[in-house]
């Protein structure tokens, strides 16, 4: 006989597959923790925002942080310093003056800087000061001037996250405009939209898995196949990184039925990219090993985990040494098939293509 709790779970899970009780709360907690760590980054600042050595000093200090907090805080510091530098008019010099920066934090720092630039640019679009295409071209130009060589893509990708979170109604317009300007930038934008989808407030009180809800929305909101792959990859990236210590959240995404994405490696790319960011930014620590070797209890989830996490990770990481990862991975966000991703990472790490 169906018990009342199980009946309620079935109703709330929507599609009939029971989602683990407490999972939505766990996801909410993890997303809040990431958001608060990002917002709290200014508290780590020694007051040197706007000074040449301020960013470098602050980043070195947070190297003492453990776990994902290091990444979110680094992103927040990038945002905080970019805001200050923008007001003083020397944002383009921010990273060059701050060198040498800790290599393991370059990705989140560039992402944070991108969030700042994107917020400013989108505010101008909303105010209707100029044509959206012109503003987007200006944003792309700024991104290339601000970013260190090879990291422009990370800065551009943040535009998608900001657009989806602050001005979701503008997402289709920006997507169309970017497609006419630069297709690579358009792809990165949609990846950022996927990242932003996972943090969307409309999931906050969801009784279902926010990861699944975001993936479903990603498929629905993307205008075409190319964009769909990028958005879902962004969702998968965010789900993995935010819930690094809670693999059951990732399980709920991996077991979601996404037929339109079969064979695209969209989810796989997002998951492995997140693993790479963790390995690069924090190290192949115990948390990393536990996620990599996680074994779901249900057979469906175990099969999905093996196919979408373990095997792709083995392909990408097998060619890399056991030492700390190095290299510039500014193009990591752009969707690739797993085999291509492996070649990209080895090349970026200076270990040569296989």
């Amino acid at each position: 006989m169906l018990s009342l709790p199980r009946l309620l779970e079935s109703i709330f899970s929507g599609a009939g597959r029971v989602v683990e009780p407490g999972l939505p709360i766990l996801e909410l907690q993890n997303r809040l923790a990431a958001f608060l760590a990002f917002r709290g980054a200014a508290g780590w600042s020694s007051g040197g925002a706007g000074r040449a050595d301020g960013l470098r000093t602050d980043l070195r200090r947070i190297l003492g942080c453990s776990g994902a907090a290091r990444l979110w805080t680094a992103e927040g510091l990038g945002y905080h310093h970019a805001e200050a530098a923008s007001r003083s008019g020397w944002e383009e010099e921010l990273l060059r003056r701050a060198e040498p920066l800790p290599g393991e934090l370059l990705l989140p720092v560039h992402s944070g800087i991108g969030l700042s630039l994107a917020t400013q640019s989108l505010a101008a679009i909303v105010r209707g000061q100029e044509d959206a295409t012109l503003l987007l071209e200006a944003f792309l130009s700024r991104a290339s001037r601000v970013a260190l060589p090879g990291w422009q893509g990370t800065v551009i990708e943040a535009l998608g996250l900001v657009a989806r979170l602050l001005h979701p109604a503008l997402v289709p317009l920006i997507g169309r405009s970017l497609r006419t300007v630069d297709r690579t930038s358009s792809s990165l934008f949609w990846h950022g939209v996927g990242r932003g989808l996972y943090f969307a407030p409309s999931h906050a009180l969801s009784l279902r898995s926010a990861a699944r809800s975001a993936a479903v929305k990603a498929i629905r909101e993307a205008p075409g196949d190319e964009e769909r792959v990028e958005v879902v990859s962004g969702v998968a990236w965010a789900v993995t990184l935010v819930n690094f210590g809670s693999p059951q959240v990732l399980e709920s995404l991996l077991t979601a039925s996404l037929p339109s994405l079969e064979g695209t490696d969209a989810v796989e790319h997002g998951v492995v990219a997140a693993l790479l960011v963790w390995a690069r930014g924090i190290g192949r620590d115990r948390c990393f090993q536990e996620l990599l070797h996680h074994r779901p209890r249900s057979s469906d989830a175990a099969e999905a985990w093996e196919r979408r996490v373990s095997e792709p990770a083995a392909v990408v990481f097998s060619g890399l040494g056991m030492g700390p990862l190095s290299g510039d991975w500014g193009g990591l966000f752009h969707h690739r098939f797993v085999s291509e991703l492996s070649r990209f990472v080895r090349k970026a790490s200076g270990e040569g293509a296989s």
Binding site: S45, S46, G47, T57, R87, P201, R220
Partner: protein, 489 residues
């Protein structure tokens, strides 16, 4: 046979599709609205991160607001927050008033020529000295009523028989005391009372039942002064800067004042410091005035004591000294640390030729004009309460943050319930309240000085264990990390 027409299903399908799109559009709208609210709330408040204790504002927003208010930045693109800039603007004036007070003390104390002197506290078993005083001083061309307390207490002596390495022991004591006072005292001057407990394990109690729980609670009672250095001015370049978070507890060696630094700004937390007003007598309801726990001090060379063989019979005098800054954020309490017009404090360790260490301490401050200030502004109170209920949203619209619930804006009418009671009691009793019951402003002032005396005593007595724990204060390699880093024992 033709299949039945499906036209009846199309409107339903269309409705379902429209409903789905409407739901999606609604979801996106919610995302945008909430996202923009969260972004806007975070922009000016800055951090809630690991060093939330400082809670400083986003630098560029603070600079922008200050510019709008017509304030001048210390430097263009100043890296300082608005609170820090208010502190920095006060420093020179505070130092000047502090020097005035010190000059007055150096003149009056040796001559014992106070306008009024009275006994303050009593300790037993040691011939300690303690008294309070009232007087006045010329500050900025105007007379300022001042008050203060002086106390001298025994601290330590070498535990060797006189005549057996007696001279060496005294010199060693002096060398040790020099290092302890000038380098480490401000790093280790806070301490915790010992706390007994019976070790038990229970899962955390929910808030509802916590008052009923008998399980031991963590959290020792802290006493003494906890110092953190915040800002500095370099002597060579005149550069004003902020100490890094990692350096805050590691107070500089005071010998660097006058050589490396002109001054430093220190935040001091005075633990367990409150002032009781018991209008109905002991054991009955009373008003507890929590004196500002966190205060800002400026330390400069002329307030610090470093004297080698200053007079016959004294091997050395080493002491900390500082002038109190006004708290950048005014509040309900109008007197006490952070609210003085002028105040200095000096704690000096004197090593005598027999190795005995005595600690003379002096505190001098303006006499209070007001203890509390409560503004009578129902509209402001209503707005501030609404701010609390809406988690800050209303306050952002109206410009009345909840933190200013009871603090009066400059120039606003307000009243002091403490002095109001004193004046009322005196009026209604024809002066008898003061003569017979000691209900007077003067008595309140003396009570405050007694509190200060007790605080000093606790701080010095508490530091004794730390002083004795370390074998050799001059051997930094052998010192425990918590001493060197000032992380508290």
């Amino acid at each position: 046979m033709k299949p039945p027409a499906r036209s009846g299903l199309r409107p339903i399908e269309g409705l379902a599709r429209d409903a789905a799109e409407l739901q999606a559009a609604l979801g996106r709208s919610i995302d945008g609205v909430v996202g923009r609210i969260l972004h806007g709330l975070g922009t000016s408040d800055g951090c809630c991160g690991p060093s939330v204790r400082s809670g400083h504002r986003h630098v560029s927003d603070a600079s922008a607001r200050a510019e709008d208010a017509g304030e001048e930045a210390i430097d263009e693109g100043s890296p300082f927050t608005a609170s820090e800039r208010r502190i920095l603007a006060e420093i020179e004036g505070t130092l000047e008033r502090g020097r005035d007070l010190k000059r007055w003390w150096d003149r009056v104390h040796p001559a014992d020529s106070f306008a009024e002197r009275f006994e303050l506290g009593r300790t037993f078993n040691e011939p300690d000295v303690s008294y309070g005083f009232f007087d006045s001083i010329e500050v900025g061309g105007a007379s300022m009523p001042i008050m203060g307390n002086f106390q001298e207490m025994f601290y330590d002596r070498p535990k060797t028989p006189v005549g057996v390495h007696g001279v060496d022991a005294a010199a060693w004591m002096r060398d040790q005391m020099r290092e302890f006072v000038l380098r480490y005292f401000m790093r280790v001057s806070d301490f915790r009372d010992p706390q007994g407990f019976a070790e038990t394990w229970r899962p955390p109690t929910s808030g509802l039942f916590e008052p009923l729980s008998w399980c031991p609670r963590s959290g020792a009672t802290e006493r003494g002064f906890g110092f953190q250095q915040l800002l500095y001015k370099r002597r060579d370049s005149g550069e004003i800067g902020r100490f890094l978070d990692a350096e805050r507890n590691r107070i500089i060696d005071l010998r660097e004042l006058g050589s490396t630094y002109d001054w430093i700004v220190v935040k001091v937390r005075i633990f367990d410091f409150q002032f009781d007003v018991a209008p109905f007598g002991p054991g009955l309801p009373k008003l507890v005035v929590p004196l500002q726990e966190d205060s800002y001090l400026v330390v400069s060379r002329d307030l610090v004591t470093i004297e080698e063989e200053p007079e016959p019979g004294v091997l050395g005098r080493y002491g900390i000294g500082y002038s109190f800054l006004r708290n950048p954020e005014p509040g309900l309490v109008q007197y006490g640390p952070g609210e003085f017009d002028a105040a200095i404090e000096q704690i000096t360790f004197e090593v005598r030729e027999d190795g005995v260490v005595r600690v003379p301490m002096v505190f001098v401050a303006n006499r209070p004009r007001q203890i509390l200030r409560v503004d009578v502004d129902p509209l402001r109170w209503g707005a501030a309460l609404g701010d609390l209920a809406t988690f800050g949203l209303l306050g952002r619209l109206l410009g009345v943050p909840a933190s200013r619930l009871l603090a009066a804006p400059p120039g606003a009418p307000g009243f002091d319930p403490v002095y109001a009671y004193v004046d009322f009691a005196r009026f209604i009793s024809g002066g008898l309240a003061e003569e017979v019951l000691c209900i007077s402003r003067e008595q309140l002032d003396k009570e405050f000085l007694v509190k200060h005396f007790e605080q000093h005593y606790q701080t010095i007595a508490g530091s004794l264990a730390t002083w004795r724990t370390i074998r050799d204060w001059a051997d930094e390699v052998d010192l425990p990390d918590w001493v060197v880093e000032g992380e508290g024992g």
